[in-house]
Amino acid sequence: MRPFSAQLQTRRFAPVCHDISIAGELVGLHDSGALWWPDGDTLVVADLHFEKASSFARKGVMLPPYDTAATLEKLAEVIEAFQPRRVVALGDSFHDANGSDRLPASYRAMLTTLQLGREWIWVTGNHDPIAPVGLCGETVDEVALGGLMFRHEPRADAEPGEISGHLHPAARVRRYGRAVRRPCFATNGHRLVLPAFGIFTGGLNVLDEAWAEIFPTQAFSVFLLGEARLYPFTASRLVKD
């Protein structure tokens, strides 16, 4: 039981990953929810959902307008830790198609600073099907790099090596009559689904029916995000919501 204040202070991310192999490529799972691909000198983050709160506010649900800032700060810390040559934002980077347009100037500047000196790829997602307005970076629907294919929404018929997001994987573990639910990475060795990186994002239990096409059998593993570490479990050890 560490005091909470201490937890906050030590929440600077260390560039230490849990290494796994996806279709023969070595990739590192990071407890921030980001993926580090050393051979590509690439950092991958999925489902940032920038400007989600303001998207809700338009409909009269006044969520605190701090999500973009908090997600940006977290992203900055991970970029600081890994110093990647390239960043891939794996779709749904903005919560809606107007999100990049609404991005306040200060955050826009912060994001631009993060993009300086590195390649930046915006993969489109269902929430943000078009290129962000007034921001650097290349916009693609999907991109193949090395032996890996980066796209937003995992495909049932995907070739091995698919890295995706979209589903916001989360898993539940029960023990001593108590259950813990956390965002997680989900993989079967051929494909990998990243947890949502955005602050205001929920998760979809990997045992939900929506996953049946992605992992048809129970032969997959998850890595739950923890404090400065990941907790690996096979799917058979998980429970439904």
Binding site: M1, P3, F4, S5, Q7, L8, K52, S54, F56, A57, R58, G60, V61, M62, L63, P64, P65, Y66, D67, A69, A70, P104, L167, H168, A170, V173, R174, R175, Y176, G177, R178, A179, V180, R182, A196, I199, F200, T201, G202, G203, L204, N205, D208, A210, L224, G226, E227, Y231, P232, F233, T234, R237, D241
Partner: protein, 839 residues
């Protein structure tokens, strides 16, 4: 007190009384007098004193006179004359039935209707067009009517508002909602009078102030009050069983035979227990030994409404011998002739006990009869203290709450739904309500800003504002859609997500068919409880042992189980903390052996042993014992301040002990004591001065330590969620409208974290803190405790467990152990796999 002589009571009424062999009681006539003087009034009367009739009498008399003057044609245009507001839907329905007798008996031309969440839409619409003379309803319905111009028109002529069970209403956020509604009603209909009906309370002035409008910067305005004759002193006993008194636990199994025999010896008994799980267990056990097959029923808040109504009806027609029930029957619905109240477990509060006892014998000239059945030794002490309080007629109802800000936010939106408003006017209206009398203007403005744009320091949502300023300074609702949203979210009760429990045929019964559909609905159960169950687990519910099958949408499918050893639900519905007043009485009793005379021999011997082996808990100070046991070191203290305050204290103590290098492992809290255990030798640390008890229990733990702990506390997050729902930040979960997947919704935990980090003074966090301080964390009471015991901590360094500590240690394993164990749990579960892999 001759009825015929009273000029205020028309002949038709006095004849009706006389015809039934009754005469109006003094307090009933007193209320007529107050009505004639145009005064608001609080009536304090025990159950069965004709309280309800007293409340309605002035309205019935006024309406009977009015009819003569008003032409029939004009009638449909008149608004409602009298509003009756009760905390329970069932009570409104019950009262409607009870009013039937005098109205038809006297041939009065008065319309009475109910309006609750169950009232069909067409009837509600009709009520707005043709308001009944008397409308029986709930605080939520008042809020709904006030949010709608037609509803306001219907209430514009209200003459009298009767508030039933006021003592119960004012202690919750529903009381805040109602206070704001009353303030709005007063502005709508300036001549309005209120009549509060209440059981005996500790501070009647609070209720009297609640009933009338308050003015700024003047002493509290008070309604008049009338106290009905308290009747005969109750006849209360504590069960003295020949069986051995348990050290711990809440089941009172030892007394089962005694309880059964007592039920048998009486006509009709109400058996009160404190939690739903205890009700289930006791009911089950009573039927196990029910050789005479006495009709014994079960009643608690989770049971299906239909089933509850059936039990209530059976009770009303006198066909039951006993009902095992929880506080769901605390409030004053009248059923048949109860001649005995049995309270199993600790009463938790003197007034609570008095109200429960009041359910027996509704004739005022006969004493109520009650039997207290303590379930363990500490509860014997508590029962004794409660009994003494009952004999002295002392009360310990909680003080009036100060109005919650989340409820105010809801009300502000409701007002906007009714039409544009001027903030200045609304502020004076709101502060005329007693709970909001001292609300600073700044807080009010923050709440209005919250409703309009979320109220964030970062003013980014102006263009999406829900309230738009008009040129004349009024605020107008931005879109009619917001009014619909408001109507779906109105109310202050935020339930834990519930699942319906449906009985189906078991899958285990052979046939390989899917689990059957369409079985009987048994009731509702908390989602988190079902979450813990694996298919095949058995538990007690609705008086049966059930086998959990599966979850389908929002229903839990269960089947009848053959097992006779169920895994009993551990859900805690209706668990009350020990009242401060009783706690003080218990400490006083313990501290002085002279007070032990009324206690059973076993308990006296137990305390005597404690005196010899350790020492007795102090009246004002705090006894702290330390002792080693099985490789661990224990610290047990006896604050007697209730479970909630002890839990908070336990959290903070372990945090401090951790920092001091004492390696605490966990703690367990009961209503009476707190036990902490760890690897470090706490006794030795205190002995050689490395650990100062005064320092450990210093009040400054309520500063940084509390703050740091609250950051991650799930209790705080739960509290925040309910504030966010009430204040309208997020929408209520509506059954059937939950199609959206989890990935689209925003969890309030995330909102809480972000808000706490970026805007720690946000109005919703203030509301959360206000709730937690008096609610789940009971910080106010913990603060009082720490101040009381300062420099009065006695340490007993023992070589082994003390007699008083035994029950505390026995609770370990039965009660949840606290601590920030999520990470540990995950690590443990994950490491299990590693071990498996190595093996």
């Amino acid at each position: 007190m001759d009825a015929r002589a009273d000029p205020l009571l028309p002949k038709r009424f006095s004849d009706w009384f006389a015809g039934r062999g009754w005469h109006p009681r003094a307090h009933q006539l007193a209320l007529l007098e107050k009505a004639a003087e145009g005064r608001s009034v609080l009536l304090i009367a025990p159950t069965g004193a004709g309280k309800t009739l007293a409340g309605f009498l002035p309205s019935l008399v006024a309406l009977s006179r009015r009819r003569k003057k008003i032409a029939v044609a004009a009638r449909s245009r008149a608004g409602t004359h009298t509003l009756y507001i009760s905390p329970l839907k069932a009570l409104a329905v019950d009262i409607a039935r009870n009013l039937e007798a005098p109205i038809s008996g006297m041939g009065l031309d008065i319309t009475v209707e109910t309006r609750t969440g169950d009232t069909p839409t067409h009837k509600r619409q009709r009520q707005k067009r043709q308001p009944p003379d008397i409308l029986l309803t709930t605080p939520e319905q008042i809020a709904l009517l006030l949010s709608d111009p037609e509803g306001r028109a219907m209430l514009a002529d209200v003459d009298t508002v009767i508030l039933d069970e006021l003592h119960a209403l004012v202690t919750s956020k529903r009381g805040d909602l109602l206070a704001l509604g009353l303030a709005a009603l007063r502005r709508l209909s300036p001549g309005l009078r209120t009549i509060g009906l209440s059981a005996t309370v500790a501070e009647p002035e609070d209720l009297r102030a609640y009933l009338v409008g308050q003015q700024p910067d003047t002493p509290r305005a008070l309604a008049d009050w009338v106290v009905a004759d308290g009747g005969v002193r109750p006849d209360i006993g504590i069960l003295s069983s020949g069986e051995r008194l348990p050290w711990s636990g809440h089941s009172a199994r030892y007394a089962l035979e005694d309880i059964y025999r007592t039920i048998k010896a009486h006509r009709t008994s109400l058996v009160f227990v404190n939690t739903r799980s205890q009700a289930e267990a006791l009911f089950q056990n009573l039927w196990r030994i029910n050789e005479d097959t006495l009709p014994i029923a079960l009643h608690h808040g989770s049971l299906d409404v239909g089933q509850r109504r059936k039990v209530e009806a059976a009770m009303a027609d006198g066909s039951l011998r006993a009902i095992v029930c929880t506080s769901s029957l605390d409030l004053g619905i009248d059923w048949g002739d109860v001649d005995l109240v049995i309270n199993v477990g600790a009463p938790k509060g003197a007034s609570r006990l008095a109200q429960r006892i009041g359910r027996a014998n509704h004739r005022m000239d006969e004493p109520s009869k009650a039997l207290l059945v303590p379930a363990n030794r500490f509860e014997v002490l508590e029962c004794q203290a409660a009994l003494a309080a009952a004999h002295r007629g002392e009360q310990d109802t909680p003080p009036l709450r100060s109005g919650a800000l989340d409820v105010l936010a809801q009300h502000v939106l409701g007002c906007a739904c009714a039409g544009p408003f001027l903030p200045d006017e609304l502020f004076s209206e709101v502060t005329s309500a007693e709970p909001y009398r001292t609300l600073p203007r700044e807080a009010f403005d923050q709440v209005v800003a919250f409703v309009a744009t979320g109220g964030y320091a970062l003013r980014t949502y102006e263009r999406y504002a829900k309230l738009k300023p008009q040129p004349d300074g009024r605020l107008r609702l931005a879109h009619p859609r917001l009014a619909q949203q408001y109507r779906l979210n109105v109310g202050t009760i935020v339930e834990a997500p519930m699942l319906k429990v449906r009985l189906v045929r078991s899958r285990a019964e052979g046939r390989r068919t899917p689990v059957g559909r369409g079985g009987r609905m048994l009731g509702e159960i908390e989602e988190w409880f079902v979450d813990q169950l694996a298919p095949g687990d058995t538990f007690l519910f609705a008086g049966e042992i059930l086998r959990f099958e599966t979850i389908r949408e929002n229903e839990a499918y269960v089947s009848r189980a053959r097992s006779d050893a169920p895994m009993i639900p551990s859900y805690q519905g209706g668990k009350f903390p020990l009242s401060t007043y009783l706690a003080a009485s218990v400490r006083e009793m313990l501290a002085d052996p002279e007070n032990w005379a009324p206690l059973p021999d076993q308990v006296r011997a137990w305390l005597e042993l404690q005196r010899q082996h350790s020492r007795l808990p102090l009246r004002e100070g705090l006894l702290v014992e330390t002792f080693p046991r099985a490789n661990k070191h224990y610290l047990v203290c006896y604050p007697f301040e209730g479970r909630l305050a002890h839990q908070t204290l336990g959290m903070l103590l372990t945090r401090r002990l951790e920092r001091l290098g004492a390696h605490p492992l966990g703690f367990v809290a009961s209503d009476y004591a707190l036990g902490v255990w760890g690897l470090g030798d706490l006794g030795a640390m205190i002995g050689d001065g490395r650990l100062s008890l005064d320092g450990l229990f210093d009040e400054d733990m309520l500063g940084d330590d509390l703050d740091a702990w609250l950051a991650g506390s799930s209790l705080m997050k739960r509290t925040f969620r309910s504030c966010a729902v009430i204040a309208g930040l997020i929408e209520r979960r509506h059954p059937g409208l939950e199609k959206t997947g989890r990935q689209v919704t925003v969890s309030t935990d995330l909102i809480y974290d972000v808000l706490r980090q970026h805007e720690p003074n946000h109005i919703l966090l203030q509301a959360t803190w206000q709730d937690a301080a008096t609610g789940l964390l009971d910080i106010s009471r913990l603060g009082q405790l720490l101040r009381r015991i300062r420099h009065q901590i006695a340490h007993a360094a023992l070589s082994r467990v003390s007699p008083l500590a035994v029950p505390v240690l026995l609770d370990i394993g039965k009660e949840p152990i606290f601590g920030d164990a999520q990470e540990a749990l995950l690590a443990d579960a994950a490491d299990d796999l590693v071990r498996e892999a190595i093996r």
